[in-house]
């Protein structure tokens, strides 16, 4: 398994500002992903964080709004830029370990409220 931490766990932000969320894993992982869960909804994939190269974004998500970094195999950041109340969501990172298992593990999430 993997131990995943996210910072911050929650935040309340003002419209127009940006927030960077950190995801740290206790072991090197093959793939990392960022998901968004809007209030009362299911999880939607934002992007795959690629180590050493640009993230791969899903339809409806763009790099200018959600820039992602992955400087090494254990760490990634997601920035929510120029926030509006519609960005209020839980943001979760997940990892795929590889190593003979297909199980994916999720961090505890960052609960973001935009006023």
């Amino acid at each position: 398994s993997a131990v995943i931490s996210q910072k911050p766990s929650r935040d309340i932000c003002q419209r127009g500002t940006s927030l960077t969320i950190q995801c740290q894993v206790d072991s090197q992982v093959t793939m990392m992903f960022w998901y968004r869960q809007q209030p009362g909804q299911s999880l939607t994939l934002i992007a795959t964080a690629n180590q050493g190269s640009e993230a791969t974004y899903e339809s409806g998500f763009v790099i200018d709004k959600f820039p992602i970094s992955r400087p090494n195999l254990t760490f990634s950041t997601l920035t929510v830029s120029n926030m509006s109340p519609e960005d209020s969501s839980i943001y979760l990172c997940s990892v795929f370990l590889g190593q003979g298992t297909d199980t994916q593990y999720f961090g505890p999430g960052t609960r973001l409220t935009v006023l």
């Binding site: 909804q41 299911s42 999880l43 994939l45 979760l92 297909d102 199980t103 994916q104 999720f106």
Partner: protein, 108 residues
């Protein structure tokens, strides 16, 4: 892309009752996982079950890959079982596609 449907969307049980949650998916999958999201938002892995049957205490799951569905059984439900149950599948891109979830409320 692959479609994932869960039923029922909402379920209210009395403590001690049993329940079955269903997940249908539209295409072949490499991976299927069941999660429980607790009231604090944490996603807890219940099962990795692309095929076959597994049991863990009061919970068990069965996936019939050829018929593209999975079932999660909860027996002797407890109030701590309350929350949202998600089925999620992976079909070649490693990222998961989630169903809409079943919201379970277990009353004392």
């Amino acid at each position: 892309g692959i479609q994932v449907e869960q039923s029922p969307p909402d379920l209210i049980l009395q403590e001690g009752a049993n329940s079955t949650l269903r997940c249908n998916f539209s295409d072949s999958v490499n991976n299927l996982q069941w999660f429980h999201q607790n009231p604090w938002g944490q996603l807890i892995n219940l099962f990795y079950i692309p095929s076959g049957t597994k049991q863990n205490g009061r919970l068990s799951a069965t996936t019939v890959a050829t018929e593209r569905y999975s079932l999660l059984y909860i027996s002797s439900s407890q109030t701590t079982d309350s929350g949202v149950y998600f089925c999620a599948v992976e079909a070649g891109r490693r990222a998961l596609t989630f169903g809409s979830g079943t919201r379970l409320q277990v009353q004392p």
